[in-house]
Symmetry: C2
Subunit: 340 residues, 2 copies
């Protein structure tokens, strides 16, 4: 299998020799770990090992259909590892094991697949996550757009950690870990060929190392990573689950100048833009300073800021730059399809 000029063929998804070869030479070589190397259909993981890390398993999944598949700051493979790892981490878990399902379009360049797989392997390795089981399907040309990836993930929550959207309390502070909308702006600029020299990259990153020390703190009530739907979607989730409201201060929102520019130009709202490496943390007021310090001490959290607080009145509101408060509705649809 010479990777450079070759493309994915129907045979690569057939269960025959061509598929075996691709699995061995590309996936097993890149993801190399004892579970995968067992070559059983499922990975077998010691429950005793898991139980030493905590008392609850977390199980989550996401499919990734982003277009374009390569973008400043990452590619669909990096996103597929980071996104699912982050969903585990915001539950309080240590991300440990991922599954990986590829749906490939016939004719997709094997060289591009190799780049994506290599990035996945590297991202997983750096985050201490093992890709332990997988699946590959190939569909005819035109039946899928290049490549879709599903990852499911499992991790363990330490016994003392109990983060949940329903634990959000009136008076809590709402903190974001950095600038909003970088991923959405980078993809929009690339896809719509706006041609702006934004200098903005996707913020796609594994957040688990920044989240880990938060697990030692009392007063952390709930975490989310603000992906599709942006921070706004998360604020509504917190409000719906807790029965309280949230009031956000527009002046306090950390937004890069270039992202603010693209939003003003197109009449879009950074709060609705997707991120792939930004936390929303809701904390008791007495934990605010400690949380901000932990975030600021991490390279991914230098722009962390308190952006608002939880209110008794069950509505999500934005206090504008001039002090006028308006209700922040959840849009019917996000402005950008296939953002993740």
């Amino acid at each position: 299998m010479s990777v450079s000029n070759d493309v994915v063929t129907m045979a690569h998804g057939s269960g025959g020799r061509a598929m075996q070869q691709m699995i061995e030479r590309m996936f097993l070589a890149a993801f190399d770990n004892p579970w995968l190397n067992e070559r059983e259909d499922g990975a077998r993981i010691s429950l005793a090992d898991l139980s030493r890390q905590g008392d609850r398993l977390v199980f989550t999944t996401d499919s990734y259909v982003i277009d374009p598949i390569f973008f400043p700051g990452g590619n669909i493979g990096k996103l597929a590892v980071c996104g699912t790892a982050n969903d585990l981490a915001v539950s309080g878990a240590t991300p440990a094991y991922l599954s990986c399902g590829f749906i490939l379009e016939e004719g997709f360049p094997l060289g591009d697949l190799q780049k994506i797989v290599t990035t996945m392997a590297q991202t997983a390795r750096e985050a201490g996550i093992a890709i332990v089981t997988g699946d590959t399907k190939v569909v005819q040309r035109g039946a899928a757009d290049k490549i879709f990836i599903n990852t499911a993930g499992i991790g363990v929550i330490p016994t003392a950690v109990n983060w949940a959207a329903k634990s959000v309390q009136a008076g809590d502070k709402v903190i974001v870990s950095g600038t909003l909308g970088d991923h959405g702006a980078a993809i929009l600029n690339l896809r719509e060929q706006l041609g702006m020299d934004l200098g903005v990259q996707s913020d796609c990153a594994v957040l688990a190392p920044m989240i880990a020390p938060l697990r030692m703190l009392a007063g952390v009530h709930a975490l989310r990573d603000a992906t599709r739907g942006g921070v706004n979607a998360i604020l509504h989730e917190f409000s719906d689950a807790s029965g309280f409201g949230i009031c956000i201060d527009e002046n306090a929102l950390p937004v890069k100048e270039a992202v603010r520019g693209i939003c003003e130009l197109l009449g879009l709202e950074p709060l609705n833009f997707a991120n792939e490496g930004k936390l929303v943390v809701v904390v008791a007021p007495q934990a605010e300073d400690a949380v901000l310090k932990i975030l600021h001490d991490h390279p991914l959290g230098t722009d962390a800021a308190t952006i608002g607080e939880v209110t008794e009145h069950p509505q999500v509101c934005l206090r504008g730059a001039l002090g006028v408060v308006r209700q922040l509705m959840l849009p019917h649809a996000e402005p950008l399809p296939r953002i993740c």
Copy 2:
């Protein structure tokens, strides 16, 4: 959301209100269980509960891209539950929890989605499996073919069970649990509009209840369900993993007359045809009768038969109807794309 005439729109995958409504009214309503109803991004599962069932977690995944999505004996949703549940069950585990990722094409009828989701919920409920976490993505018209589903699954293997392809031994008997190639023949007939009145349905079924009593027996060495690539692919997996060969007796293969007919007509081999509800079991000779009895006693195993045995010489062979032995190669590609 009136389901009858409506279709999936980009808004259903946007993270906004339209997506929330679809998740609530369709997915949560159908899959209804305490983990999903927590409305957290990941399902939280007690490790103490898991540890009471055994000592090893099994984690596996498959994506389903079958075409057509509705077929005699099932639909893509039934397949997505059965396929992953069966991968867990053949490892010796009790299938317990599934994740579910939908990739939907814009314009896909919501009525069809409702049928698929209802079948998934029913299949899972009958098998005692909970669909505990999920994800929905929508891509533009033409960027995917109708619907793709990924399921990942977890289950627990009881401490005494140690099935593995590498445990296969020379002298072992090779047993299949029923007629071969029903799924492949049913899909081929439908898709290629051969218009044969085969009376053959897909054998798509959850095999866990038939497998469970096998876990009490000594002498069961390895199990697989023979899906994509057919029984032939499984024989090669067993041979590769164990270093032994396998010799199959053509006269002993249970194949429905109609399936044999379609194979002869098209020059295809039932051993290469996909199944979605058939086991291949490798057992020590002294366990053969007990295994056959357990299979015969289950409605899905009435046609179970010993089809061959494991040999010292590391080759997969077929003894033809006239006694001539020939090597059985793994084909480069399976004849039927998008069979699962």
